[in-house]
């Protein structure tokens, strides 16, 4: 197996006069879980479509599992499993048939398809629904079935576009569990998400993109330390007060009606609380969401 699951060199995608992805380079190592983050319209879906061979690049080189997307589309789709943003299960077929019919597109022999279908239905815990129609399934069940379907061809890499959007917290936890399980089995995972907690919990590495460019990339912990220090003091409902920009070693920022102060230690932030009498203050460890907001929101909401 290739050491690099994805090798993108200066990839660019234009739609007419709009440049959706602008000479962007990154790599994903085999066996790692990699997150693609960014505001709506940042270029995440375009990158994913390019990797799935659904969108030819304007320029640049893109290799998936060592295979060039420009000429090995069929071989790439044989080794990749895709869970798109919108569920596209076949409403004319039941749960089991959805998997069996899909297996045929990969030319799996009947016995192999049957065996994998049973194993995957068990893996996503849909045994009791195996003969149910798709419209009888809950949102979480459909999502789990989508993941099962993407695993039919025993892929080396699973690509998930917003895997848990619109699902309740219990279902999200259950899906994260499955994805971690797959990751431990050695599967490379590429996912895009708007949930920072999802990215923080699932991804070994991630990159945040905006306007087709990479803003930052790295391990979630490192990104938080580098761009959101370690602690943050959040002050809400303080429109009338000025932002305190004079504290040494503290980064001050205004996001809408909130003031945010970032520092490596909580001690540096504690004195500020006293200055905001009557306002809602909250001292907490900083997280990926802070990084995201700082990098993608600057100039947009302040």
């Amino acid at each position: 197996m290739a050491r690099l699951a994805i090798e993108a060199g200066e990839i660019r995608k234009d739609y007419g006069t709009l440049t959706a992805v602008d000479r962007l380079s990154f790599t994903v190592e085999a066996g790692e879980a990699f997150g693609l983050l960014g505001p709506n319209g940042a270029g995440k879906s375009t990158i994913m479509r390019a990797i799935c061979c659904r969108s030819p690049l304007t320029s640049g080189s893109l290799k998936v599992m060592g295979l060039d997307v420009a000429c090995h589309q069929r071989s790439i789709r044989e080794v990749v499993g895709v869970v798109p943003q919108e569920n596209n299960l076949d409403p004319d077929l039941n749960v089991r048939e959805n998997l069996l019919v899909y297996a045929r597109y990969f030319r799996l022999p009947r016995e192999v398809a049957e065996e994998r279908t049973e194993r995957l239905i068990a893996f996503v815990e849909l045994e009791e629904k195996r003969n149910a129609r798709i419209d009888e399934l809950s949102g979480g069940m459909k999502r789990r079935l989508m993941i099962a379907r993407a695993l039919l061809n025993n892929p080396s890499m699973l690509i998930l576009d917003e895997p848990t959007t619109g699902l309740d917290p219990h279902v999200r936890l259950a899906i994260w569990d499955k994805l971690r399980n797959l990751r431990q089995q050695g599967l490379t995972i590429l996912l895009s998400t708007h949930y920072m907690d999802e990215a923080e919990k699932l991804c070994d590495r991630l990159m945040i993109i905006d306007h087709g460019h990479i803003l930052v990339s790295g391990r979630p912990r490192d990104l938080i330390e580098a761009h959101a220090k370690r602690f943050v003091l959040e002050v809400r409902g303080c429109q009338s007060q000025p932002l305190r920009t004079h504290e040494l070693g503290v980064i001050a920022e205004q996001h809408g009606a909130s003031h945010l102060y970032f520092a490596p230690t909580a001690e540096q932030l504690a004195p500020l609380i006293g200055e905001y009498e009557g306002c809602e203050t909250w001292l907490r460890p900083s997280n990926l969401e802070d990084v995201f907001m700082r990098l993608t929101d600057r100039g947009r909401l302040t």
Binding site: C53, N88, D90, P91, R104, Y105, N153
Partner: protein
């Protein structure tokens, strides 16, 4: 013929099998309902209009004459509906094409699989209508056994044309233009009356549409009047299919891979 070279027959078969499996679940509604209309139109033409047309048309009863037209239209319309509304539903509302294109199946095989399925439905309906016509005594020659082949070739052209339109439109209401043209053409196709009743220019226009050749070929087989013209007609329809399918496959690739 760039697109044709990308077709993988094995993949075409898998796309076809998906539609067949769905059809098998729903076959009662799929077979019975669409059969009522032609059954009544054959009765209407046989007993109703046929009794008013006292003389023979081209040397045969009006039911035999018009039967060829009814058989052609009833069967080819199945391919049309399958590759317009049904295909549009699968492509846009159910995202079935997106799901399939995440597998090794290429757009061109998907397109040909959809067309082949439309043709299959045409063939099923065609066989039933042919049986009904035979029961009414409208089939005069054993050469009629070759009619299914003619239906298949004609349905392939209709399926390709319909899928091309499906790949081009972004609003399901645009099919109204297509259907409007098809039903207008019906009156100039030689289905209801001989084409030589038309002004010459209208006749030539009618012959440009491959379906006119299908109706004529099918009628000559029903009557047992075989001439070399039959081969010419089928060649024309076949060439039209190959070219139209190429255009349809390119259009669907532009639509799905962008």
């Amino acid at each position: 013929m760039r697109s044709w070279s990308k077709v993988d027959i094995g993949d075409v078969a898998q796309v076809w099998r998906r539609n067949r499996d769905v059809y098998r679940r729903l076959w009662r509604t799929e077979i019975i309902a669409p059969m009522l209309e032609p059954l009544f139109s054959i009765m209407g033409f046989g007993w109703g209009v046929g009794s008013l047309v006292a003389g023979k048309v081209m040397g045969v009863s009006y039911l035999t004459f018009v039967g060829a037209g009814l058989l052609t239209f009833t069967s080819l319309l199945r391919a049309l509906f399958e590759c317009t509304y049904a295909a549009y539903f699968r492509m846009v509302y159910q995202s079935t094409y997106d799901a399939i294109l995440a597998t090794p199946v290429e757009v061109e095989s998907l397109a040909l699989g959809e067309m082949t399925w439309g043709v299959t439905k045409s063939l099923i309906d065609g066989l039933i209508v042919l049986g009904v016509l035979w029961a009414f005594g409208a089939v005069l020659s054993p050469w009629a056994l070759l009619i299914p082949f003619i239906i298949v070739i004609g349905a392939f052209w209709v399926a390709a044309l319909s899928l091309w339109i499906t790949a081009m439109i972004h609003d399901i209401n645009y099919y109204n233009f297509y259907l409007g043209s098809v039903f207008s053409y019906l009156w100039f196709s030689g289905a209801y009356f001989p084409l030589d009743s038309l002004p010459a220019w209208a006749g030539w226009l009618a012959w440009m549409v491959p379906v006119t050749s299908v109706i004529d070929a099918l009628r000559s087989l029903m009557m047992g009047h075989l001439t070399p013209l039959l081969l010419l007609e089928m060649g024309y329809v076949l060439v039209a299919f190959v070219l139209t399918a190429e255009v349809a496959m390119r259009a669907l690739r532009r639509r799905m891979i962008n």
